[in-house]
Symmetry: C2
């Protein structure tokens, strides 16, 4: 464990300067303060030595309190690995305003966290857009990829494989015109699934024109404009959705419009959220194993703490056949 | 550890049938033999219980005997993790003929291996093209990706990131016309680097026409036809190569033709093989940390043995600036 002395020695400055910089004293320049902070984080310095080491899980745009929530099992998986290894795990709802005024490394050092897992972060969050390209703190992002920083690891599921499983399955059922309905492509995970879907169509030698895809920010536009367009104008007999909640909404919308699922139209989601089993018909989907994601996120963070420069850590997906896909006659 | 009884019970057949099937007795049908074998592998059955568990490292198209060889450090890294964990590691030069007549799972069970790492495998190898899509043995492939089988993991470096580092660096040096020279795109890793190179050009808003790329099976064609074409016809002032050995050959070829590196033309490789330091000028390149690759391969295999369905495990790359790239005036 690095001490104030170690930091001072490495930087060739006085121990008192290091101490002042870390405590925000006014007679230290901003440049020195920043340099000391970066060195301290890089050397694994923590304020309260001897106390239990802490990891942070930052969470936003994701429910996690009940077993029905997407984040619940991820947190369980992470804790199952981190706590027996001696870490205290703090779950922190992520505050946009705090992040926009406080640099990430500074926050982590001040709060004495060794590393962090991020769940649900959007690409426009200040820590993503400003800090992660150069941060020194070991950091794991679920479903977000930062290129070029050895301290940041992307953990997720193999979206390309998942889309390939979905398209291959629908093709086996006889479908030839397969449409894609997706939330706006502002999130990394939706970009990956979108690319994976079209790659899979091409590999399966199925029609793959851009018109087969509908994306929008608003669910109203997806369900009210794109969904009917894909079915009536494009003649799609099966729809792949970027995530289960959208697939469930689309299924209800089609049923209200008098279409039978899967007799008239097949639909498949992505994620396998608990709700999939309870809708009518139960939703076929591509499964992300959330407990394994949590465990893998810990493994990745633990590798980072050992200075293994892990870039990407993806889990296999699994096709879950339920009632929402049927043969195309 | 699974026993003959466990396998018999799971399959609902007699223990004597399981025993016969595993020993290749003639009064068991091929279908039963195959089913027993798959179940046995899946359940982690090994013939000689109590003996030290064994892992195989299959190696082909890659030198590994001396510290100068690419495979040497990968093997060291793998052994450093596997042997203290109690595994015997056997390094096996891969025999194409044996593989074409013996199914992979069968070989592994017969030879009592729990899992394997593959180094240097080409996409047309029979175990890749025939067996890996469905194999039950925990398997890790370096630089090859098999989609859709939870028992197979791809370990490698983040080629996309590496190409982005190379292109960004050359752009910072003032280069605008950057060419790409690559071995034929039959290997997965060359496909990934090729895609990564053009993605990086587009992201950097540099010219990215297909004419900026030369690929071929024969080095003679790369150096004799494509390299002069990229420089004279396309006006490239910098060349990115798919791997160091090619970059070194290209550098020598250009120097023989009277060009100065880096004053007249910059060149950068990929891999950071030991030779890069010893050529004139020393070759700038994108580093793969081979010891870490070996360690990561063991971590991935160990996760597979614990039934974590790991798909992809990539390490960060690192830009190594030496003497072969200079500013474009």
């Amino acid at each position: 464990m690095a001490t104030l002395n170690d930091i001072a020695k490495k930087m060739g400055i006085a121990k008192s300067t290091v101490s002042k910089a870390l405590n925000g004293a006014e007679d230290v320049s901003e440049a020195t303060r920043r340099a000391v902070l970066e060195t301290a984080v890089e050397m694994g310095y923590t304020r309260r030595r001897g106390s239990q080491p802490k990891l942070a899980v930052f969470i936003t745009n994701m429910e996690y309190h009940s077993p029905q929530d997407f984040g619940y099992d991820i947190l369980i998986g992470f804790r199952k690995m981190a706590e027996p290894a001696g870490f205290q795990v703090d779950v922190i709802p992520l505050d946009y305003d705090m992040a926009s005024t406080t640099p990430y490394d500074e926050f982590m050092l001040r709060e004495n966290y060794r590393g962090a897992l991020f769940l649900g972060l959007a690409l426009n969050h200040p820590w993503i857009s400003r800090d992660f390209a150069r941060c020194k703190t070991p950091t794991v992002l679920y479903d977000n990829r930062i290129s070029g920083n050895p301290n940041v690891t992307y953990v997720g599921t193999d979206n390309q494989e998942g889309m390939s499983l979905a398209v291959h399955y629908l093709k086996e059922l006889g479908h030839r015109k397969i449409g894609y309905l997706s939330s706006a492509l502002g999130a990394y995970v939706y970009q990956q699934r979108y690319l994976g879907f079209f790659q899979a169509l091409k590999k399966a030698r199925l029609p793959s024109s851009e018109a087969l895809c509908g994306t929008a920010y608003e669910e109203e536009e997806l369900l009210g404009y794109h969904l009917p367009r894909l079915i009536r104008e494009e003649g799609c007999t099966a729809i792949v959705c970027s995530h289960d909640l959208l697939a469930i909404a689309a299924m209800e919308q089609m049923q209200e419009a008098g279409l039978r699922v899967p007799e008239d139209i097949s639909i498949i989601g992505f994620d396998d959220i608990p709700l999939c089993r309870h809708v009518h018909p139960p939703l076929s989907t591509i499964r992300q194993n959330r407990t394994e994601i949590g465990k893998s996120a810990y493994c990745a963070l633990s590798s980072q703490l050992e200075h293994v420069p892990l870039s990407t850590f993806l889990l296999h997906t699994e096709l879950v056949k339920r009632g929402s896909c049927g043969p195309q006659k």
